[in-house]
């Protein structure tokens, strides 16, 4: 075990992928000379050169599409998009090309492309840099959506994502980059399953990405009040691991979904629908969810924090299930 930051874990994963396979290259805005907007790719330009650590102009649609073309052409590109908000400029290429080429061509084409992007709020950078739109991507058949929330997943998920023959979108919550954790050896490289991060028996707290640390904190607070919460980290947002989710719900008989997306049409809504479809008779209480308030993310710190899921809100939602 060694202590490592989420950012360093991601960088190590990139370095390993670049060293292991000459087809792999990284491209995006300021990934090279600048060292990456979130400094994830810092130092990689010096190590791998400008062909493989490729700075792009501010052309999200263009370079994401070029990534798709390069993947079709035999390369294994990693496209970095600065934030999920900016990825909307590339959405056409992701939705109208990458996700559907295999099916629409009758199975002829494979788009082995990895797209990484920062997501989420908490750093006071206001509404055009802070949204949490993972669920927009999780809606789309043909792509896989990953949300590494731990240093282990930051280190481990890239390699299987690159090995996957289909487009994989990786969401890195910007508030996680500085978090540190113990990296076990060997680390997990699974991109299929949800994981129980803290076992419990009284209520299942189901979450992903940047909300995982808050949810674990809420579980500790609940423990002090005698409520033994289980925390499930989804890890993979598409396809969802129904088996792990339903097992936790069946065990705890109560569930709270914690999702930084807006409530309306959220991933939380999808999870609740699935639980009702698959595990309704296991439940002892209605389902609850903690999502972001339905406002564009404000700049002022107190307002931003008020808009986001927080441990105290999660605790309140969980306690509300015990009548």
């Amino acid at each position: 075990m060694k202590k490592i930051s989420y950012r360093e874990a991601m960088r190590e994963a990139l370095r390993e992928a670049l060293a292991a396979d000459p087809r792999v290259f990284l491209m995006g805005e300021d990934v090279g000379r600048y060292g990456g907007t979130y400094a994830v790719s810092k130092g990689l330009l010096q190590e791998f050169g400008p062909e493989r650590i490729r700075d792009t102009p501010l052309s999200e649609l263009g370079f994401t599409g070029a990534g798709i073309g390069a993947a079709l052409g035999g390369m294994r590109p990693i496209v970095e998009v600065m934030t999920v908000n900016f990825s909307l400029l590339a959405l056409d290429q992701i939705v109208n090309t990458a996700s559907l080429y295999r099916h629409m061509s009758g199975g002829q084409f494979s788009v082995p492309l990895v797209i990484r992007m920062a997501t989420g709020a908490g750093r006071q950078i206001a509404a055009q840099h802070s949204h949490s739109l993972e669920n927009w991507y999780a809606h789309i058949p043909g792509i896989k959506v990953l949300a590494p929330a731990t240093v282990e997943d930051a280190r481990g998920m890239l390699a299987p994502a690159l090995a996957d023959p289909d487009p994989v979108v990786i969401f890195e919550h910007a508030a996680l980059y500085n978090t540190e954790g113990e990296l076990p050896e060997p680390w997990s490289t699974d991109i299929k399953s949800a994981m129980v991060r803290k076992p419990g028996s009284a209520v299942s707290l189901i979450t992903y990405g940047g909300s995982l640390p808050k949810t674990l904190e809420a579980a500790q607070m609940l423990a002090k009040e005698g409520i033994d919460a289980e925390v499930v980290d989804l890890r993979v947002l598409r396809p969802l691991d129904d088996e792990t989710i339903m097992a936790s719900v069946a065990k705890c008989r109560r569930a709270v979904i914690v999702d930084e997306g807006w409530k309306t049409g959220s991933l939380a809504a999808e999870l609740m629908a699935r639980i009702v479809e698959q595990a309704f008779y296991e439940l002892d209480a209605p389902l609850a969810r903690v999502c972001s308030e339905e406002v564009p993310m404000p700049y002022a710190k107190h307002m931003e924090q008020a808009a986001l899921p927080q441990p105290d809100k999660i605790v309140a939602a969980a306690k509300g299930l015990f009548g």
Binding site: P57, A66, G73
Partner: protein, 330 residues
């Protein structure tokens, strides 16, 4: 608008090449005329965008390419697929929506794909293929493969941001991409001057430092000679090239289009510049083609078309159990 006189002048080709060009233009023409009939019979549904009138563009350009080159095309791509080597049977079956089609009937007329032929669609998002073409060309460059990626698109695509992003990237990274703008003067029903503040399309490409050529797309000799030069520039590693092929669509945009936006007279005038009859007239004048030869070619093509229709008719439907097959690999 003043319409230029029909293309004339000597054909600097051996009779074999000239006949191959006639044959391929005829194949596109007759296949699509039949497709239009089949649309009327409701055998082909959805959108059907015909290339009739524009045949010299794909024919002249694709004859300048090598078999290993990549082709990225639009939703008006029947001709490009055919000349790339896709059997007419396979195209017709795809238009019917049959399993024997190139895309198992999942794409239809607008989405002809063939991985082995390096035909990457069949893209119905206007300008959607341009970034893809840059990426394919980048992959070849990074892998040291000496190949050209030819990307076909209409002038309407040049109003999209994707065009500008793609041209900038292609020039910046000096990738082997050949951009072929099929300027048929109308983006659906919107005339060029009504949608572009700068109607000199080559000026747009040139603003990215990409060399350009403006070509009469109704003159297959001009198209082919220009395409040969352009592809050579690209193949030699000198970076991308942009060709504007000025052409005209004789049929409606799609089968749903009542053509309210242009005068019948204009269409008739452009027909005097038809790529097929002007070219055959030139060949006949030079003694490189006889009427008998032409009729024999036409009869041969008619057989190919009827064979393709029979194949599509006899085809099968993809079983509904396969609906979710190939959404992802696993």
């Amino acid at each position: 608008m003043k319409i230029a006189p029909p293309p004339t002048g000597p054909v600097p080709w051996q009779p074999e090449l000239a006949l191959a060009m006639v044959r391929d233009m005829l194949r596109i023409r007759r296949m699509e005329e039949r497709a239009a009939e089949l649309y009327g019979e409701q055998k082909i549904r959805g959108f059907l965008h015909l290339y009739i009138g524009e045949e010299a563009v794909a024919t002249g350009a694709i004859h300048a390419l090598e078999a290993e080159d990549n082709i990225v095309a639009t939703y008006r791509e029947h001709g490009h697929a055919l000349l790339r080597g896709m059997p007419m049977r396979t195209i017709m079956a795809e238009m019917y929506g049959k399993r024997e089609g190139c895309s198992r009937g999942r794409g239809g007329s607008m989405h002809l794909f063939d991985a082995k032929l390096r035909l990457y669609g069949g893209n119905a998002i206007v300008a959607g293929g341009l970034p893809l073409a840059v990426g394919l060309a980048l992959a070849d460059k990074l892998q040291g493969v000496r190949r050209v990626t030819a990307c076909f698109f209409g002038e309407g695509a040049m109003a999209e941001g994707a065009f500008h992003e793609a041209l900038n990237l292609a020039a910046l990274w000096k990738v082997p991409a050949l951009f072929c703008c099929e300027n048929n003067l109308y983006a659906m029903g919107t005339a060029l001057a009504r949608s572009e503040s700068q109607t000199d399309l080559c000026a747009k490409a040139a603003s990215y430092g990409v060399p350009t050529a403006k070509v009469d797309g109704q003159d297959i000799v001009a198209v082919h000679e220009a395409a040969k030069k352009a592809q050579q520039h690209v193949r030699e590693g000198k970076g991308p090239f942009f060709v504007e092929l000025q052409t005209y669509r004789y049929r409606a945009h799609s089968m749903f289009d009542p053509e309210l936006y242009r005068a019948k007279q204009e269409v008739e005038e452009w027909k005097t510049r038809g790529p097929l009859h002007t070219f055959t007239a030139r060949l006949k004048a030079e003694g490189k083609l006889t009427e008998e030869q032409f009729l024999a070619l036409d009869a041969e093509v008619a057989k190919e078309v009827e064979d393709a229709v029979a194949f599509a008719e006899a085809g099968s439907w993809e079983p509904v159990e396969d609906l979710t097959r190939d959404v992802t690999a696993a």
